[in-house]
């Protein structure tokens, strides 16, 4: 074994794209300010130097055209990776993603494929306020024909991005802005993680927390605190919402008998509702010792003021409290 090399999440994403572009001529990236500027968050920094402006294609500010051009390129033999500068701008690209990319193959009777990846930073915590801080993954998860990935670590991001690039379907790849600078072990050689396989981020016996993206990290911190009080927490990160590895979640709930689902996106209509329903519909229902608990963002646009911004989404203490309410319920 080589030494455990550490990389930031952002570097892991970049390394994956570079490695894939080196071995596959069909792979290219496209987006606003991804050239010299290196992307709004620096993910593509240095890539134009290696691959040139043909394959690191700086676009005008035209989200609908970027997404649509990716669909067209994907249909005709390329494997585009789109960087959409902020996931909020998916609203502008929606026709191409929802009505074109996702429907195309099915409508045409199974002919053709649309192998594109749309990477996009989401989530709050940067003070960018209501139009640059949303978590809209449940929107995309609702659409048949799209795969939706939400990695919480650089290791997962690198492996899942490779899988997404290799996939013949349109994949929406959400990267949480606050995770970009987080560090962790990432192997140097290319590797692929299966789309649709959850990861158990922590083993435990008293309660299962199902958490996504940055909430995985908040849940891990909460678990350390809860451990001190004798509560053993198991944490499952689905990593991919579509397809969803519900089996791993069900197995965990059968073991612990209690579950808290937590995500940053607004709770109402959020993906947590889907996970809770799937648990309730499964054989795990008979093992439940307490009602399923959901934690999510408040039903408000993300405010600018940092105190309000924090209060809009679940924090570590909210997770601790929710777990206690679940565990101490008779």
């Amino acid at each position: 074994m080589s030494t455990q090399r550490e990389l930031t999440y952002l570097e892991a994403v970049r390394e994956c794209m570079s490695q894939e572009m080196r071995v596959n001529e069909d792979v290219f990236i496209m987006g606003e300010d991804i050239g010299l500027y290196g992307g709004a968050f620096g993910v593509t920094r240095g890539m134009i130097e290696e691959f040139g402006n043909e394959r690191v294609r700086n676009t005008p500010i035209s989200e609908a055209a970027i997404a649509g051009a990716a669909v067209g390129a994907a249909m005709t033999g390329m494997r585009p990776i789109v960087e959409l500068q902020f996931s909020d701008f998916i609203t502008i690209a929606t026709d191409q993603i929802v009505n074109q990319a996702a429907k195309n193959r099915y409508m045409f009777g199974g002919k053709g494929k649309v192998p594109l990846v749309l990477r996009t930073p989401s989530g709050s915590g940067t003070g960018a306020a209501a139009q640059h801080s949303q978590s809209l993954e449940a929107w995309m998860a609702h659409i048949p024909g799209l795969k939706v990935i939400q990695p919480s670590t650089g290791y997962d991001a690198k492996g899942l991005l490779k899988a997404a690039i290799d996939d013949d379907n349109p994949v929406i790849f959400y990267e949480h802005k606050l995770l970009y600078r987080t560090k962790g072990y990432v192997p140097e050689e290319p590797y692929s993680l299966p789309i649709g396989k959850a990861d158990i981020k922590r083993q435990g016996t008293d309660v299962t927390i199902v958490a996504t993206a940055i909430m995985v990290h908040k849940a891990l911190q909460a678990a350390v605190e809860l451990e001190k009080e004798g509560i053993s927490v198991e944490i499952i990160d689905p990593r991919t919402l579509v397809p969803l590895d519900i089996e791993t979640i069900i197995e965990s709930v059968k073991k612990t008998g209690r579950v808290v689902v937590v995500h940053e996106a607004v709770k109402r209509g959020g993906f947590g509702g889907e996970i809770a329903s799937l648990i309730a519909e499964s054989e795990a229902f008979d093992y439940l010792d307490a009602p399923i608990k959901r934690l999510g963002g408040k039903s408000v646009p993300i405010p600018y003021n940092p105190v309000l911004e924090k209060a809009a989404i679940p924090q570590e203490r909210d997770i601790i409290q929710a777990v206690k309410e679940t565990v101490f319920r008779r």
Binding site: P60, G127, H132, Y304, N305, V307
Partner: protein
């Protein structure tokens, strides 16, 4: 009466002096914001319009109070020119409850609807259709007001720009589209992002007039906008005005500005500073003395310092307001 400089009829000598002062306000406001940003006292993100004072002040100067504007992510100048109070703006950037949005909006979302400012916008091109809707109201209710719509060269590549201008054109709506072409959309040079020589040339595709203007010349800005506003008020429909200008600072924080040269920046700063240019005209026409100019500059600086004090002394919003105002 002004004789030697060519200005629209409603622009008095007094108004010119006010505009000179206003441009300083805009400059000092954004320079202060820059300073506080660097110190970490303002969080989030912010986009400064230093160097673009004349396009904001000149265009809005020819409006009547009832007229409306839509603004952009680079909107502090538009906001000040449309009559916003700098202390409430600064308080907003500090996230304080006394700010225009009670600390919920920040730099990109300041609106002052009472003064006819329908809002800044964090979505590039997002305000363009809204301006068209505002003009539609004016036409349908025969209110006679005109809407000025600000956006950047980058925004002119969004679908919303093309769709909205076409609609305004076919319906002859009272709206004036002002493209502030500051040469870059974030890191994208306009020359690489637009194939036509002028964005105003695109007006032909919609059957409306297109006008290129030196956006750093406040007098030219006033004249061209005035003509377009009058045309709109007469019911003859929209005009696309392209103001050629330059943003002195980076796109936003942490911009290494690798996409442009230091020489280019220095050229715009030292040879085409809109405030300096206006000052020279006012002085040579005897409307202003050097001393008065300095006094106005100092006054503006003082107002911004007071705005900072107001912002710093203002309370943070109480947590209860988090869930207020989601619905009316």
């Amino acid at each position: 009466m002004i004789t030697n400089v060519n200005v629209p009829p409603m622009i008095t000598e007094k108004k010119l002096v006010e505009l000179f002062h206003q441009m300083w306000l805009i400059r000092f406001f954004d320079e202060k914001v820059d300073e506080f940003f660097a110190k970490g006292l303002i969080h989030g993100t912010t986009h400064l319009c230093v160097g673009q004072e004349a396009s904001a002040s000149g265009a809005i100067a020819v409006l009547e109070e009832r007229d409306k504007i839509t603004s952009t992510h680079r909107g502090h100048g538009h906001c000040i020119a449309k009559g916003a109070e700098t202390n409430r703006m600064m308080a907003e950037l500090f996230g304080r409850v006394t700010g225009y949005c009670r600390g919920k909006g920040g730099s990109m979302h300041i609106a002052d609807v009472e003064k006819g400012n329908l809002g800044a916008n964090g979505i590039v091109g997002g305000g363009i259709p809204i301006a068209v809707g505002s003009a539609l109201t004016s036409q349908m209710k025969k209110l006679g007001y005109v809407t000025l719509c600000f956006f950047g060269d980058g925004a002119s590549n969004e679908g919303s720009f093309h769709e909205a201008i076409n609609m305004a054109a076919i319906w002859n709506l009272p709206v004036v589209f002002i493209c502030e072409n500051n040469q870059y959309g974030m890191s994208g040079p306009v020359k690489e992002m637009v194939k036509v020589a002028n964005i105003a040339d695109r007006a032909a595709a919609y059957g409306i007039p297109g006008q290129v203007v030196d956006g750093n010349d406040i007098f030219a800005m006033m004249n061209v906008t005035h003509e377009a506003v009058e045309r709109a008020r007469r019911g003859e429909g929209p005009t696309l005005v392209e103001a050629k200008t330059y943003r002195w600072k980076g796109h936003s924080k942490s911009d290494a500005k690798k996409y442009r040269t230091r020489e280019e920046e220095m050229d715009w700063r030292s040879n085409r500073d809109p405030i300096e240019r206006m000052k020279r005209v006012l002085i040579s026409e005897g409307m202003l003395s050097e001393q008065e100019a300095e006094r106005l500059e100092a006054e503006a600086k003082k107002e911004i310092e007071d705005a900072v004090k107001f912002a710093e002394e203002s309370p943070m919003p109480p947590i209860e307001i988090l869930e207020e105002d989601v619905y009316a």
